[in-house]
Amino acid sequence: MSYSMLLSGLSLLTALLFAAALLIGPAGLSPLESLSALVTGQGEAAVLVMREIRLPRAVLAALVGASLGLSGAALQGYLRNPLAEPGLIGVSGSAALGAVIALQTGLAAAHVLALPAMALAGALLAVMLLLLLAGPRGGAFTLILAGIALSALAGALTTLVLNLSPNPYAAADIVFWMMGSLADRSFMHVWLALPFTLIGWLLLAGLGRGLDALTLGEDAAEALGIRLNRLRLGLVLGVSACVGAGVAVAGAIGFVGLIVPHLLRPLVGARPGRLLLASALGGAALLLASDIAVRMILPERDLKLGVLTALLGAPLFLHLIYKTRAEQGA
């Protein structure tokens, strides 16, 4: 399959799933009713459901999914490791910590944007710490070390907040939030996440050439004219901006950034540069599909999106292990 065919296929799939996400929901509107309400603004209840509930939810699923797929592909390419994922550099953990503090202190209840704003602040702090720890020079290894240190610290502080939580309801809120979900999000969330997401995408989209050259290792890539310091800075800022924004509005959603690049890699001839756009589209499609599934499987019980992606991710990994072993003949 050629690269352009793959991209067209993935775009079509994403568009279809986006349409499906708009048409499926508990309100029981017919597809025709839904679309005419969305476009013409006729029919008060239907317009409310479409414009205020389903549309922002579908937009966020596509945005966050694309961010996760793109970031996963970029990190895997930079670290030359198929097991890298957006959470690795500690930005998601720190964003989650910011959100958890907002929930714990009651700020989240005071204003609807307090939680995502605190999460973004957490992500921003994490980026600054990460760049400080990893230094201006230095390769992939120091970045992983700094990321792991930061993730561990954020994780520990999150548990500390839970531990000291005097109020079981706040603790339950925190636990549910951390599972990741797109339920009850509005366009306010979209407008908050959109600028950071777009900046992140722009930064990451420019890395393809450098990531391709890194196939030969850091030394050879640098001798091919790739400025590795600049590449690393673009990577860290890009991943942080779009993943931080994603965590801020949707909570921590695992496995998408890990599994999507993995699944699509063979279809782009394993080229890290081409994997970027393909993974962004694939991530959007996967998260849209998962969010539809969440609404269809247990419509009454508010099944969390992050739980479903984790449930999907594990068997996919088993399949990968099986395939790898078959290739090795073991």
Partner: protein
């Protein structure tokens, strides 16, 4: 034409010098073998000459901007890294990175360079194969083809023939000496002194970070240098098949 000129080049790791005040002038058309025992500083010298590590002193290539350097010099590191299962053709095509725009679309010149490099390394039949599925020696040849596809006037290669079968060691050294004959500059670190004596126009001997001998292969590989630097006694003779060098025993 681009030459390579190093003056008082030093690299320190902590307090101790790994490369110690090396001054070297190499002109286009020369195929220079960089020899010396393990830890003599050959790799560090080459990386400093390219400007890939912090150094004191001056190197004509390290002085260039990153983009200019990539068009002036191709670097073949000792570590043979192929991170992803890309096709051989794609991998060799990475050598064209400095010549292509940000969109990285290979033009006819790039295609021609890739095909020529594949043909020169006898890899045309491997073009569509996954590079990671090849044997170690085949991967080494693919990586050499990548450096050739870069078509830079200077080629700096760190132990490129280690792990190749004897026929491909000879072919590869022949390619390097042909490149020099075509007017390019080749600096190649080698451990096989026999091949170095046969194919290099000039040898540079390093010992403990210093450049201790520089000249015609027969002059550099004299019994005194061999004993002092390598701890070897060897047989060396000029035959009708060219120079023959064979290490005999450790002294």
């Amino acid at each position: 034409m681009t030459g390579l000129s190093l003056s008082h080049l030093s690299v320190h790791r902590g307090p101790c010098p790994v490369v110690d005040d090396v001054t070297l002038e190499v002109k286009p058309g020369e195929c220079v073998g960089l020899i010396g025992p393990n830890g003599a500083g050959k790799t560090t010298l080459m990386r400093a000459a390219l400007g890939l590590i912090a150094h004191k002193g001056d190197s004509s290539i390290a002085r260039l901007s990153s983009a200019e350097r990539a068009r002036a010099a191709a670097w073949l590191p000792q570590m043979r890294e192929i991170a992803w299962p890309v096709s051989v053709e794609t991998l060799v095509g990475l050598g064209r990175t400095p010549h292509m725009g940000p969109a990285q679309r290979p033009g006819p010149l790039d295609r021609a360079a890739i095909d020529a490099a594949l043909a020169r390394m006898e890899l045309a039949q491997f073009a569509g194969r996954r590079a990671t599925a090849l044997s170690g020696g085949e991967q080494a040849r693919v990586l050499i083809a990548r450096a050739l596809a870069q078509e830079a006037p200077v080629l700096i290669a760190d132990e490129p023939i280690a792990g190749l079968d004897p026929a491909h060691q000879i072919t590869t050294m022949r390619i390097f000496s042909d490149l020099a004959a075509e007017g390019r500059l080749v600096l190649v670190a080698l451990h096989d002194l026999g091949l170095a004596a046969r194919f290099c126009t000039r040898l540079v001997l390093m010992h403990r970070g210093r450049l201790v001998a520089d000249g015609e292969p027969a002059d550099v590989l004299n019994s005194d240098n061999l004993a002092r630097v390598f701890g070897l006694r060897a047989f060396m003779a000029e035959t009708e098949d060219g120079p023959v060098f064979q290490p005999l025993e450790v002294v």
